[in-house]
């Protein structure tokens, strides 16, 4: 029994997420201040506050649990959450989706909930799997089981379809194999089919890429089995080949989102609307912002989802560059704290776990902020601690609690 509770020894970390969460409640309050009052967004900040309270209580409880316990529950939790995801897919399939971006919200908490839990469960399972290895992964085949562990929930989430959350699973995978000490060329080879998928929009670019990849594999030939090199090439070719059918299988709104990312003016009324309006909101905030609750883009409801996925635009409009930099600095501080915690952790599981959570949050922050300002395509992914969403906030706090709990675990 330690003299100080775990959360206290990580005061910087917990204080940061508390500040972020309070900022989130404030921003959700502001998002509800509209010229034409909307019953949908009006009292949401209170609900978020209640979930924050629950999160804090969760942190106090969970952070006191035995670090060993997380290793014990990792696999059962993973199996259970994947099962629930699968069930959700069946049950949720009956629910009609609304048009456009809103479809993400219409199913609401019910759809997010299993995915949020599954993310943490996947981090637990993956961390446990790699922590049990004697050595860092050295061959691609060493990454096969970890990859499979991630691909199952990822595929289930993709089928919902929820591209944003699926990307978080990708973040988990690469963050954990990175901290497991996987050589970087191996990480790149593992990522290469994804790159091929994107570059397939142009046959010429894709061909150049494949040649470069082959050269890379040739230089790295002594570290790989031949069959692995061939698999990487085949995987890339396959990714390039399915790109077109995959593109065609996307719903029109999904395709439009990707297209308007390249040219928002393409469809300024529908798909491009959100992007244009959120850029206008953030840009018009200027250096100091328009003042708390005073954002005009927000007040006049120009930005859909401004209390959830696009809450960053409200912050950018009302607090300006100072506000956005401060927010990114808070996240930066949080992430650097987590890297430090992983570095000093005394069990391999703790480091892996912390990096897994870091992978989730970092993916969320980068994609969310990036899509709001038009750096990455709109994928519908919330900003951790800030965006409205009870289950997401609660799960983030529980993940933080686990981070705190395992960070100080004795070997």
């Amino acid at each position: 029994m330690k003299a100080r509770p775990a959360w206290f020894s990580e005061a910087g970390f917990t204080a940061t997420i508390l500040v972020l969460s309070l900022l989130g409640v404030a921003m959700i309050f502001s998002a509800g201040v509209l010229e034409v009052p909307s019953q949908i967004t009006e009292g949401l900040w209170l609900r978020q506050g209640v979930f924050l309270g629950a999160g804090i209580v969760g942190l106090l409880v969970v952070s006191r649990l035995s670090p060993r316990m997380f290793e014990w529950v990792a696999m059962p939790a993973y199996v259970l959450s994947v099962g629930v995801l699968a069930v959700t897919l069946v049950v949720g399939s009956g629910t009609g989706t609304a048009e456009g971006v809103k479809s993400f919200l219409s199913i609401g908490g019910f759809r997010f909930q299993p995915a949020e839990a599954a993310k943490i469960a996947t981090v637990l399972a993956l961390a446990l799997l790699l922590a049990r290895r004697e050595d860092p992964p050295r061959y691609l085949r060493d990454l096969l089981t970890p990859a499979a562990l991630v691909v199952v929930p990822l595929a289930l989430v993709l089928l919902q379809p929820d591209l944003g959350t699926a990307l978080a699973f990708v973040g988990i995978f690469f963050a954990i194999i990175f901290w497991a000490g996987t050589p970087w060329p191996l990480v790149l080879f593992a990522a290469s089919p994804g790159v091929a998928l994107i570059l397939a929009y142009s046959a010429r670019v894709w061909s150049v890429y494949i040649v470069l990849l082959a050269i890379g594999l040739y230089l790295y030939r002594f570290r790989l089995y031949l069959v692995e090199s061939v698999s990487v090439i085949l995987g890339n070719v396959a990714a390039g080949a399915i790109a077109q059918p995959l593109w065609n299988s996307l719903a029109e709104y999904q395709r439009n989102r990707l297209l308007v990312f390249l040219d928002p003016g393409l469809d300024p009324r529908d798909a491009g609307w959100q992007l244009i309006q959120s850029k206008v909101a953030v840009g018009s905030g200027g250096l100091l912002g328009k003042g708390f609750t005073a954002g005009t883009q927000k007040r006049l409801a120009f930005i859909p989802e401004q209390h959830t996925d696009f809450i960053f635009s409200v912050l950018g409009e009302e607090f300006g560059f100072i506000g956005t930099v401060l927010l990114l600095a808070l996240f930066g501080f949080l992430f650097l704290r987590m890297i430090r915690m992983a570095e000093t952790a005394r069990t391999p599981f703790a480091g892996m776990f912390i990096f897994g959570i870091l992978g989730i949050w970092f993916t969320h922050v980068f994609i969310n902020v990036g899509m709001t300002i038009g750096v990455v395509p709109i994928t519908g992914i919330p900003l951790p601690f800030i965006s409205y969403g009870g289950s997401f906030l609660l799960m983030s706090w529980l993940a933080a609690a686990t981070v705190v709990a395992v960070a100080n675990a004795d070997p």
Binding site: L34, E35, V36, R133, E134, D135, P136, F178, W179, G181, R269, Q277, K279, V280, A281, V282, G283, S284, G285, G286, L287, T296, Q297, L300, A301, F302, I303, G316, G320, F321, T324, V325, L328, F331, G332, F335, L336, I339, R340, A342, E343, A345, R346, T347, P348, A350, G351, F355, L358, F362, V365, F366, V369, G370, I373, V375, P411
Partner: protein, 614 residues
């Protein structure tokens, strides 16, 4: 992390820090560019996003008569418009609007076409929505997010039919007018003058529409006025005070023979100001205040009575004997006759010229007459000879100089000019023959190719009534006096013409029964052949003033197919002049005015005894 060496762990942690910090720094860089470097662009765009400028129509200037009685003013009306959006959503709003607003098929087509053109500004559905429809729409406001209901002044003509032709009417500007550039700064939905004073003084009456900024939300709903940018207040149009006398118009309407068509013109001798400009039948210009349906329009246009036709300034009628005064004026100006001269051939009922026998209207003849006598008796034989003295060429030249082939220049649109041969080439051009000198016989007595508007005859008479100059008749009291034309005749010669027409209402004159108790009435009857076996047009052109004093008012009456000028038109002129002059000179008005009426009711008529002109 026991399986990783501490050094390896440190390397990984450092790499991880780079992986985390670099993307975040990239985001900060993008934010710096958007929020600091390009902020003003985005700020502008956010202002544009939420601001919509609305055009606030300016109330048109008020039109009043000479006594300040309102002829045209504005009452509150409502316009209904659809704020720009996707054509599909605008059309669906339009569809639902029709549950509350009655729209004609053509209006619907027009609005639909405008919407499909992706208009940059609100599309007007109705410029004059009935109040109950507006109330119903306001109640369902939330169901019509793209609806814009604005109060909008609506034209009203309290004088109704009386003012119709003079005032004209207004209408929504059409595409051709918009493109014509005649209306400075005009935008769709503007109400512009289409006819009458409303058209002539459009630029004065229009005023300047204001601009109001409103804040709208993402769905185009108007949230409220925008505080940041002040709009431009609308400037009401300039008020216009006319020379017209509404009371006189009412009186003329009252005395004008029921069911007959025709017109009465009254001009102020001193200024040329138009005191009355009456045209029957008339119409109610209030039907044009809103949007006129094509059906309503065609009903008015196709009415066999032609109520839209402004007979006083557009109707051209053969002037008949009334034009003999012009012949006399030309002869005096040329000096081919002196007032006391008698013609070489006394009137014996006809006049032989070459192989042609031209008749006088009085078969037994008038005997030998001087100018005043010839005018009094309207003797054709005298005027045949007068015409011959003038000669065809000079008669045409002087007739044109007096503007008989032209317009008077009244401040109304579409005034008709007189039909009068521009020279001897007229016959060559029209009938392909050299006119013989004998043509002058017909012209001298007001026949032949000569048609004049009642207004033109009135303007001519004003010149006779004053010193020979005829200013352009004006309706607008503030209009600068415009020189028309003038007769170069010595005052005593003009007086002899007046002497002639004074005798017309003296005992023995054709219009004696129309003479007045308090005023001298001078005038000339004319019963002009209308052709086609129909009754003649009845003319009386007259002037009146205090006994012994100068003429103050010129009145011309024309009754289409009215028959006898002395019986139908002369009483109209007498009663109109009497009504006006009694008002001017503070004499109580009475409905018993002319000698005939005095005789009918048995009043003392001693005043009607012969009196030489003053």
């Amino acid at each position: 992390m026991s399986r990783l060496r501490p050094q390896q762990r440190k390397t990984l942690a450092t790499r991880a820090r780079v992986f985390v910090v670099v993307p975040l720094a990239l985001l900060v860089g993008v934010l710096f560019r958007a929020q600091v470097l390009r902020s003003s662009d985005w700020l502008l765009q956010s202002e544009e996003n939420r601001l919509r400028s609305l055009v606030v129509p300016a109330p048109r200037g008020i039109i009043r008569d000479r006594a300040g009685r309102v002829l045209a003013d504005n009452i509150p009306g409502y316009s209904v418009a659809i704020v720009p959006d996707q054509p599909d959503s605008m059309l669906s709003t339009l569809r639902r609007l029709r549950e509350h607003l009655v729209l004609s098929g053509e209006r619907l087509e027009d609005v639909t076409r405008q919407i499909q053109g992706r208009p940059p500004r609100p599309v007007l559905v109705s410029v004059d929505a009935p109040f109950d429809a507006v109330a119903a729409l306001e109640e369902r406001r939330s169901g019509f997010p793209r609806l814009l209901i604005q109060s909008r002044p609506k034209r009203r003509y309290p004088a109704r039919e009386l003012g119709a032709h003079v005032l004209g009417y207004v209408g929504e500007i059409n595409e051709a007018e918009l493109e014509s550039g005649d209306f400075e700064g005009a935008e769709p939905g503007w109400i512009v003058g289409r006819s009458g004073i409303e058209a002539t003084y459009e630029s004065m009456l229009q005023g300047k529409p204001g601009t109001r900024y409103v804040e709208v939300d993402a769905r185009g709903r108007i949230v409220g006025p925008f505080g940041g940018v002040s709009g431009v207040a609308e400037e009401p149009g300039t008020d216009i005070d006319l020379n017209l006398d509404l009371d006189l118009m009412e009186w003329i309407h009252h005395i004008f023979p029921e069911g007959m068509k025709g017109s009465v013109v009254a001009l102020d001798v001193e200024t040329g100001g138009v005191l009355a400009l009456y045209s029957a039948p008339s119409f109610d210009p209030n039907v044009f205040a809103g949007v006129v349906s094509r059906a309503e329009w065609s009903r008015l246009v196709n009415d066999s009575e032609s109520p839209l036709y402004h007979r006083a300034v557009m109707g051209r009628y053969p002037p008949g004997s009334a034009w003999k005064l012009a012949t006399a004026a030309i002869a005096l100006e040329l000096g081919v006759v002196a007032p006391g001269d008698r013609m070489s051939t006394p009137c014996q009922g006809s006049f032989v010229y070459g192989n042609r026998i031209a008749r006088c209207w009085k078969p037994e003849g008038h005997g030998s007459l001087d100018l005043a006598g010839a005018i009094q008796h309207s003797c054709n034989v005298y005027f045949y000879q007068l015409g011959l003295r003038i000669g065809l060429e000079r008669l045409l030249e002087f007739g044109n100089r007096m503007g008989f082939g032209d317009q008077c220049g009244i401040d109304l649109p579409r005034e008709a000019g007189g039909n009068f041969p521009e020279g001897v080439g007229y016959w060559q051009r029209r009938y392909d023959y050299e006119p013989l000198e004998g043509e002058v016989l017909s012209l001298a007595i007001g026949q032949g190719p000569n048609d004049q508007t009642p207004l033109k005859m009135a303007q001519f008479l004003v010149a006779i009534a004053r010193d020979g100059s005829a200013p352009a008749p004006t309706l607008y009291g503030g209009a600068p006096a415009r020189e028309g034309w003038w007769l170069d005749i010595p005052p005593e010669h003009l007086a002899s013409i007046r002497e002639g027409i004074h005798r017309v209402t003296q005992p023995g004159g054709t219009a004696h029964l129309s003479s007045l108790e308090h005023f001298d009435l001078l005038g000339k009857t004319s019963t002009a052949e209308s052709g086609g076996g129909r009754p003649a047009h009845a003319w009386f052109i007259g002037m009146a003033g205090l006994r012994g004093g100068p003429p103050e008012i010129v009145v011309v009456a024309l009754v289409e197919f009215g028959g006898s000028g002395s019986e139908v038109a002369a009483p109209l002129v007498a009663k109109a002049a009497d009504y006006y002059l009694r008002g001017v000179h503070g004499i109580p008005r009475d409905t018993i005015q002319t000698l005939r009426e005095y005789l009918v009711v048995g009043r003392n008529t001693a005043w009607a005894a012969f009196r030489p002109a003053g």
